[in-house]
């Protein structure tokens, strides 16, 4: 037996879109098609590309595994990882105070939150490779410019997400500590940050993965790391070496992702 008076109150399973929503969808489709046109999408090129790609593969394989080259690339890869790690760590550490200022309702008034968030948005809007160019100009060619680029890129990412994590953290403990008469800074240190810590760790691991990925191409603009080898390989049509570089990057990036996934479950997976 169903109570009809109750059933009548049920919402319909699917909402019929309003005329305005329908217009919105149509506009969306038009924009997407227009974008394909703008990107020079050409069926001809799609059809003609596999043979050219096969030609590249043919010339790139087998990859260059000369011990001398492998050793050189290995050292470059190590430098890449050092750039990534150093930049990520500096960025993550600096992100904490920045995020404190960016988080709404924490320690800073709203207008400061707005300014800091806008600044972080700007940092994210500039691509990492552009930051690398800027720092190459500022501090000269080499890994230090790359590290600075990674650090600033990490601040743009972690500053924003740390702030979101703290805003989303359970407010209960901070209210209870506020009720003891504690100062705002003490409340943040004792309640807000510990409550957001698992999210911080997760965000930091993502930032590190991202840093490793970025660091592999910074060399393209002379900011250190293995990217320079890729550029030289292509410039000199030394495709086997370029292929070795690509494979090395793939292996390292995938390993880092596994490692960070493992660390994530290890550190925060056991938490209730």
């Amino acid at each position: 037996m169903t109570d009809t008076s109750l059933t009548a109150g049920l919402p319909t399973r699917y909402e019929r879109p309003s005329a305005l929503a329908f217009l919105g969808y149509a506009l969306g489709v038009v924009i997407i098609l227009w974008s394909f046109a703008g990107a020079g999408f050409s069926i001809d090129k799609v059809i003609s590309s596999p043979p050219r790609f096969a030609d590249f593969l043919d010339r790139a394989f087998p990859p260059n595994v000369e011990p001398k080259v492998l050793a050189r690339l290995g050292w470059k890869m190590l430098e890449t990882l050092q750039i990534a790690l150093a930049g990520a760590v500096i960025g993550i550490i600096l992100s904490v105070p920045v995020a404190l200022l960016a988080a709404r309702g924490l320690i800073a008034p709203t207008w400061i939150n707005q300014i800091v968030r806008t600044g972080l948005g700007f940092i994210r809007a500039v691509p990492d490779i552009a930051w690398a160019l800027v720092f190459v100009v500022a501090v000269g060619l080499g890994p230090f410019a790359g590290m600075l680029a990674i650090a600033i890129d990490t601040i743009g990412f972690c500053g924003r997400f740390f702030a979101d994590d703290m805003e989303a953290a359970d407010k209960g403990p901070s209210e209870s500590l506020t009720a003891t008469g504690a100062r705002k800074l003490d409340v943040v240190a004792c309640a807000t940050i510990p409550a957001a810590m698992p999210a911080f760790i997760s965000t930091s691991l993502f930032a590190t993965e991202k840093a490793v990925r970025s660091s592999t191409i910074l060399g393209l603009v002379g900011a250190g790391g293995i990217g320079i080898e890729l550029k030289v390989g292509f410039d000199l049509f030394d495709y086997p070496t370029a292929m070795t570089v690509i494979l090395m990057i793939a292996v390292v990036v995938i390993s880092i992702e596994y490692l960070s996934g493992w660390a994530r479950t290890k550190i925060i997976g056991e938490q209730r």
Binding site: G172, P173, E175, S176, T180, D186, C190, A191, Q271
Partner: protein, 290 residues
Amino acid sequence: MCVRCTQTLASLSSTTSSVTNFDIETLVAPARPDRTGADISAPVLPVDLRVTGLAKSFAGTPIFKDVSFGLSRGEAVAIVGANGTGKSTLLRCLMGLIPADAGSIDVLGTDVRGASNAALRAMRAQMGLVSQKHNLVPRLSVLSNVVQGLLGQKPGLRHWSQAFAPAPSREAALAALEKVGLAHLASRRADRLSGGQSQRVAIARALVGQPKILIADEPTASLDPAAGEDVMDLFFALARQEGVTVIFISHNIDHALQYGDRVLGLAQGGMPLDARAAGLSAEELRGLYD
């Protein structure tokens, strides 16, 4: 269970030896002449808290208005009322945790609505709050959580964790845990406790600073009956022996009548009930929920 509460009381009753073997009846005797010798019906005691014409609404929805009452030092007061009548909201207003819309609140000589942040902190440092949810900081040890209860009186890094805390603070924290019978869990992580244990740690955190006013929002809701009685006995003893003003919210009518000197009732957007517990019957209180 009762061995513990007896010990607790023994430690508290340096002045009154008769309390070690107390039973509720003698303490709840209507006249209660034992307090500071004075009869409360003639309020000669200093007033700790006075609320006049308090109103609060959330986003245009009025929760209560024109709430007025005063509390004398050492008084134990129960606040009762149906779910959503604004009991927790009232307590938050009292501590200045959320702004009230109208009226005046005076707590320990501080004008809560007009006070500076520093004055509010100084006032809160003399109060203890046990929230409806225990609100412990997870991942920190039980002892650290209790040490943090001293942050109002001793701000700064040293009270962020039991590890940096000065010896007297760590000892005070352990003593507070002892009062709620959980000293043996001091090094346990706070998120590895049962609900009732968490609530008792939260009580220890509220007590560690030796508050003049203790505010407890359903302190016994997650406690088993025996532990609930212990906690209420403890609050009651604090009011009696140490002159702590105790305000507690309870959905337990028997607790309200047994442990409260006075009962305040919220209903229909106001406070229609403010009466001495001794003259109230359980029936009258139930009427408040209709």
